[in-house]
């Protein structure tokens, strides 16, 4: 199942809407890394609100997405991790180190706007 990626001004927003297979995740990684430069986006938001399970592969892929996008010159924010999912993740040692997180899409946008306002 393909993840829709929307362009919203200077940001790209990818909303995961159901459980993803490993192949879907890899495809998402590729699509985001390609488009962030093609659209000259400043940041990417990945919304995981609909994910009620986050395994180690998904968590590692999200972290890789964030690091690769930084190398491509943009920011990444992961938004909408559910409380139960968050605690299960840290118990497995999956803490998304070095990746920005926010409560939901609105917070994520807020965080990025703040960040770019201070830079400009």
């Amino acid at each position: 199942m393909e993840v829709p990626i929307l362009k919203q001004g200077e940001f790209l927003i990818a909303t995961i809407q159901a459980a993803l297979s490993d192949a879907d995740l890899e495809q998402l990684r590729l699509a985001l890394v390609q488009r962030v430069v093609r659209f000259r986006s400043r940041a990417v938001i990945v919304d995981v609100t609909a994910m009620d399970v986050m395994d180690s592969f998904a968590s590692r892929t999200l972290r890789e997405i964030a690091l690769m996008i930084r190398l491509r010159g943009a920011e990444t924010v992961i938004v909408g991790i559910q409380p139960e999912v968050a605690f299960a993740m840290v118990q497995l040692g999956l803490t998304l180190e070095g990746v920005a997180t926010a409560l939901d899409l609105e917070e994520g946008l807020d965080y990025l706007n703040q960040k770019f306002k201070t830079i400009n």
Binding site: P83, V90, E107, G108
Partner: protein
């Protein structure tokens, strides 16, 4: 203590089969004789019982007068239960008694001990009375023993049940009291933790905090552990995990009031201080949280 009226027979008894058995074994005229004997010698037998209680050093938490008053009503209820064969009044009395004496620190073995003593005192008096007629003594004991054992059982079970009820109630109260998640400003939560944290309470704290972060849309959380003297390695690890999980929800955690012992534990488990924000006391924690949220506290222009 007022003597209780025995409830109508057969009304809502706990286990009528067992009771029926006890009554079948005891021919009514023998029981009547037995009860009459116990009534007649009430004062003497009660004195003997009290003497045995203080001899075995039971009920040390109570004064002599209290023991006397309780012993009198236990004795009367006991005889009444023997007479009527219904244990409801006794059950109610045992519950009532337990309610009064549990807060005084009376232990289970003491309650069971005094009931067994009473059973023995009464049995001895039956021996003394009927020692000439062994045949009759046997029949009287046949009538007495099942009922007496059942009374001991009833009182002991009543006491233990009451104690368990009290313990359950207290656990419930502690659970409810122990985890307040409070909003002090828009998007700022504080979580004051007081007392001992065991793994179960730690799990509950984390659950409440993460849920609180989402419902209050919190950005910063101050966890104050001034009231926690020490924590073991498991709980310290759990605290670190809570901090990380909160970050995944987009909230920054500031931990305040770490005691030297807890600091030692955290260093021992090798906590990554880059992940954990700590400030000395709650005031400092709230000030830092306000800075993170962009608040600035300015004194009003006119000091009073």
């Amino acid at each position: 203590m007022a003597k209780r009226e025995s409830p109508p027979r057969g009304s809502a008894l706990k286990d009528p089969d067992n009771l029926e058995l006890a009554r079948n074994e005891a021919p009514p005229e023998l029981l009547r004789e037995l009860v009459a004997h116990l009534r007649q010698n009430r004062t003497h037998l009660r004195e003997e019982w009290l003497r045995r209680i203080s001899e075995t050093r039971l009920l040390t938490a109570m004064t002599k007068e209290e023991i006397f008053a309780e012993a009198t009503s236990v004795y009367d209820s006991y005889v009444e239960a023997l007479e009527t064969g219904t244990f409801e009044a006794l059950q109610a009395y045992a519950r009532n008694l337990s309610e009064r004496i549990i807060p005084r620190g009376v232990e289970t073995h003491e309650v069971i001990g005094i009931v067994l003593l009473l059973r023995d005192v009464l049995a001895r008096s039956l021996f003394a009375k009927h020692q000439a007629d062994f045949e009759k003594l046997n029949r009287i004991l046949d009538a007495y023993e099942p009922a007496a054992n059942r009374i001991a059982n009833t009182v002991a079970v009543g006491f233990v049940q009451e104690r368990e009820r009290v313990i359950r109630q207290q656990q419930e109260a502690i659970r409810e009291l122990s985890t307040p998640v409070l909003q002090v400003r828009e998007r700022l939560l504080i979580l004051p933790i007081i007392g001992v944290i065991d793994p179960q309470r730690a799990r509950q704290l984390t659950e409440q905090l993460l849920r609180g972060i989402r419902t209050n849309r919190a950005k910063v959380v101050v966890i104050d552990i001034t009231g926690v003297a020490a924590m073991d390695v498991t709980v310290a690890n759990h605290l670190v995990q809570t901090v990380e999980a909160s970050r995944l929800l987009g909230a920054t955690v500031i931990v305040t009031g770490l005691s030297p012992e807890i600091a030692q534990t955290l260093v021992t488990i090798g906590v990554d201080l880059g992940k954990m924000n700590t400030v000395g006391d709650l005031q400092g924690g709230i000030e830092q949280a306000e800075r993170l949220l962009g608040y600035k506290v300015v004194p009003s222009t006119e000091p009073r």
